[in-house]
Amino acid sequence: MDDFLFLVPVALLLGLAGLGAFMWALGNGQYDDLNGAAERILLDDKDTPL
């Protein structure tokens, strides 16, 4: 029973961190151009998102 007291919060917090990361990525426009991102890895000049 004692183990739950920190295992469950840890599991939930990790899940929440993942959810938060996804929400950030979505709002930041990381999913706007998936094909472009795949190609840009081959271009080696400095590259800042607009």
Partner: protein
Amino acid sequence: MPFAPVIVSKGALEKPMTCCTSAGGIALTVATDINRDGEILLASRLVGDGVRQTDLSVPSIHCGACIRNVETALAALPGVEAARVNLSTKRATIRWHDGAPPPFIETLRRAGYDAHIYDAGAEVKDTAFNELIRALAVAGFAASNIMLLSVSVWSGADNATRDLFHGISAAIALPTLAYSGRMFFRSAWRALRHGRTNMDVPISIGVLLAFGMSLYETATHGAHAYFDASVTLLFFLLIGRTLDHLMREKARTAVKGLANLAARGALVLQPDGDRVYMSINEITAGMTILLAAGERVPVDAQVIAGHSDIDSALLSGESAPVAAAPGTYLQAGVLNLTEPLTLKATAAAKDSTLADMVRLMEAAETGRSAYRRIADRASRLYAPVVHATAFLTFIGWMIATGDIHRAVTIAIAVLIITCPCALGLAVPMVQVMAARRLFENGILLKDGGALERLAEIDAIVFDKTGTLTSGMPRLIDPAAIAPGALKIATAIAVHSRHPYSRAIAAACLANPTPLEPDAVTEHPGCGLDARIGPHTYRLGRANWALSDSATDDTGLVLSKDGAPLACFRFEDRLRSGTHDALKALKRDFEIEILSGDHDAVVGRIAGELDLRYSAGMLPAGKVERIRDIESHGHHVLMVGDGLNDASALAAAHASMAPATAADIGRNAADLVFLHESLDAVPQAIGLAREAAKLVRQNLVLAVGYNIIAVPVAIMGHVTPLIAAIAMSSSSIVVIANALRLGGRRRVGKSAATSASHVSLDIMEHA
């Protein structure tokens, strides 16, 4: 050692067009720089602090090298702050300092890419989709965590642990329901307030009751809580919603991205001699408009100076160009082919022919809105049946046991088990798969309802110009013309943009001519005049080119000093695959041609294809004819491209348009096909029927699951574990069944090839 992709991209840099054979040469743009600047300024928007943003649609971007070429070319322009390419949407976003716009489009054309202005202002940002994705992510997180807790409860956690886990589940479920469930609740509330019911009503009631009962159970230390069921239900339903939305949105942006070819404005000559580029809505009757060759007439107008040829194929369906001279009235939307014209506007945009067409279309569309999608029809039956069952279960258990807690619990279990998550996935899942298959074949689907309607049709009506035919004339039998004469004709014809000249030039592409005529002049409405050595050659209408002509033939004549050398005849070329497609369609459907063109032209094509036809139809006439066919109990598919077809497209049960169609036509049609071939029509119908079959199967599966599960629930044997298993398995069966549509034989054309076809098609048309 550098690895392979780097070498490829370097090679591509030296020769910018290695991987993307440029379509740039085909586009013919003669709009003046002033026009272009005005148009860019009009379509750009201020993004703060003297910086403007312009979006360009660049359909020929294909790879990493293209990204680099486009971005470096644009960033090198003076005044450009930043340029960024989006490869997925094939768009370039440019930020530049306020002032005169840098020559974006010319720069890109020189780099080998054709660009069109993309009006980002007209596009409402798709917040609904982001909202759905966020709701889905939250529901997914909550469902997985609550399910983990539930598993340990089902495996026999002791009472204190169970209560703790129920408490944690409640704490996760409450915000999730509030966040992810709000769109269902909102829609259900709206429906209830108007005295209607939709699929969201049983969903909302089921989810809320399950949550409420579980909360009560948790508070009273009960054994069964349905938090997992209520959240998982939301998760599954949101998947269905998101897929549905994704499909519609994708097709809509794709249709929009086909480059907006309609004029946004026109160059207006002010009384003081200034030339100002004004947006269409600002132009009023009486203004003087300067129209370059290759532009569309923005509003209804009368020619006051200049001679030119006018292509009104999109507006009237007439395939042959007509001459325009001072005094000629031109309708908004017709294309000026050869020479610049000065026009006097006779009506504002809202009173122009174009606006009339839109009104006619809107009127026609009201008929179709009566169609109810199969999911809506199912939910109409579903909700009352489910609620009645739950209510009767409650009454039955009350009478049998008199235990109100037990009766309520079982009634709610019935509601949970019947909650339509398989039903909610049954239709969108199939339609998403169908839309993907269609897209692979170069067909864009606007919404799922169109697919259902398409499966029902049993009669097809075709427009002629631009639909059955490609809308471009072709030289008949070039081999029969003396090679010398053809050579001279080609040398003269390459100097003109008239469709007939282009047809002659196209027929002779194989053997380029070294001949270079001097002083070629174009006489709009008549033909071309050229000097080669001491002789005067004329290529044009017989009564103009020949010194003594009795005939007034429709063909073209090449004359040398007034004496005939050769005669050219043209036909509107049938789209490739038309014969095969129609042969396949004729077996199952009543087919008819409705065209605005002259009787003789339509008759010849109809004879060749062995179809019934009506010629000289006005837009209202086409609508009338479609209504007539539908009143005999048929469902009509309209295939057309012109402005004159737009109202018919909207009136028909289902409609298709080629990518080359007028904007209005494309917007009115349910499906847009990108390839040249008419094969798209039988393909789309075939797929729609296949999809309709799968939808029916899925509905049967979903209902079949209820037939098994509901008696179990009514008997009171449902536990949260059984509910979770039953719900998930039924959803998975439905999804798996829908996936079969994507798995079957695939016609191997990738999205990339279809995209390049679009750009080519458009440019040929432009």
